[in-house]
Symmetry: C2
Subunit: 365 residues, 2 copies
Amino acid sequence: MSRVWNFSAGPAALPEEVLRQAAEEMLDWHGAGMGVMEMSHRGKEFVSIAEAAEADLRELLAVPANYRVLFMQGGAIAENAIIPLNLMGGKGTADYVLTGSWSVKSHKEAGRYGRVHVAASAEASGYTTVPALESWQLSADPAYLFTCTNETIGGVEYPFEPDLARIGRAGVPVVADMSSHILSRVIDVAKYGLIFGGAQKNIGPAGLTIVIVREDLLGRAMPHCPSAFDYKTVAEAGSMYNTPPTYAIYVAGLVFQWLRRQGGVAAIEARNVAKARLLYDYLDGSGFYENRVDPACRSRMNVPFFLRDESLNDAFLAGAKEAGLVQLKGHKSVGGMRASIYNAMPIEGVAALVDYMKAFAARHG
Amino acid sequence: MSRVWNFSAGPAALPEEVLRQAAEEMLDWHGAGMGVMEMSHRGKEFVSIAEAAEADLRELLAVPANYRVLFMQGGAIAENAIIPLNLMGGKGTADYVLTGSWSVKSHKEAGRYGRVHVAASAEASGYTTVPALESWQLSADPAYLFTCTNETIGGVEYPFEPDLARIGRAGVPVVADMSSHILSRVIDVAKYGLIFGGAQKNIGPAGLTIVIVREDLLGRAMPHCPSAFDYKTVAEAGSMYNTPPTYAIYVAGLVFQWLRRQGGVAAIEARNVAKARLLYDYLDGSGFYENRVDPACRSRMNVPFFLRDESLNDAFLAGAKEAGLVQLKGHKSVGGMRASIYNAMPIEGVAALVDYMKAFAARHG
């Protein structure tokens, strides 16, 4: 068996030791005589797995006691509807900050449930930056303000936390789609009303959505919000109103344990900074490749880049694959290349990519 | 490692050879250098996995060409809302046949989206039977008629297919929740407008919902149906409008392959008949245990039973666990015991249960 360096934007590489443990426990979890996939979600074995996963996540992100952690389904795209269905009802208006494909998509879906107001947009820059917090123009009384704090496709990451207290609007709950950078850097959960993310980038298997929601935001769902997606219903049932995606929760729990063994979020953040610096520094100095994102807002997780001579794209990808570097093709809406370097990607993988890029540039430059 | 006989109602036992293959391929699927959980859902490796899973499911159930197979999320409880959100809009009324906990729950949720009409109900029997098709009273022009063809909690299974042509209402699409008996018996898909089920009983891991829908029912969603749950949107995107639960689809595909190796649905049905007969025949003749469901409507998959002396319940469960027979406690709304004997439970497991029950009865009778 030879493992590749997998730069997929998601579903994405997982830590090898997590996969090894999952394989070992597949037929028999801790002497239970059955695998995790076979366990009743209400049995004591699985309940202990889910409780440990939640406890570890709470510790990793220092989630305050007045926030609930929900294990849901449908990913960020489903949440684009589920969030307005839960939060928009009373006030009827929500504000959105547009920084790329994902926040634009979220804004569009929310418009089906009420009035949407664009508080700030980076469209004029081609979505290569994050508008300064001081420039945001909120509406009079929005139900929430929506942000996507890391745009997976554009490779744009907030260099600040969207702390509305700084612009005198502390009363507006901030919603943040953190799908592609949750657990990659230290955040202050208390600055947000709701944090969510699909698990398949920085956490675990596709099919699990993590929602961290402040308790006072529960119980506001519109009448036509499906019961299975009503945050209050889900919270009161301990994420077991419907059968949760048990195996995905188990694998996510293994990833949380792995992250704790790595030293937690601050430690992994330092490594993510080093990984991103290695790649961006090479890109900027290469003269052969380029990244077009505002340097202050470059994502540490998703690094889109272009060959200055795009006629070499196919040769670049073919050579990369031969060198064991896969999933480097850029999103079809952007073109070029993209290297996603989530928590599970060690610096050795980034170094292998940079080495290949250097050799390719030397051959073709 | 010692595997138990797992009678969980779901998530439930899976075939050992499926789990072994999943474990072996966890770090490296077919030489790809990555596991299935790590694959981009749009990469050629995973696309081939999803296509094979769909093709095998279509072959197993002989799904006609004018039906679409969708891989969705949220389980049957989410579908209780998603179905009316998709189908109820135009006509505004839907009919329900009530045969137990699950159809009652489905009926209640649908009432949030339009008018619901009870076409038939087994409430008077304590939900121990299925009302004869000839007795159903449909409304004038319902959007669909909803059935739950196997009630997991009550252990009641339709002994007939709800073929509305037999009562002169062929134009009304039949919706069937088959969560807990899909693939356990031969069905005629063409008799239904929509078949759905959570995977975690007879197919695979929790977190995957199978929807089989006739094409003419696509494109009828209400304006506030979330895009991720609009059948037309999902169908047009090949179940990849949002990131699908990739690993669950992979395991489901392994189960479909296993089922083909068993000889397909007709062959497994014969074994399911034999398993159910072994257990019910013993129950009926024991004088010590009893099943209270109308014999014509007893489920082959979920067998609730009671000890005539219920003060022995705890001793029964404790002894069963010692004998390696687990998850036999009945649903809290019913009490007593329940043995779920899905496709993956071999007759040896049922025989082991009957042997234990005999020995227990002999000790305590």
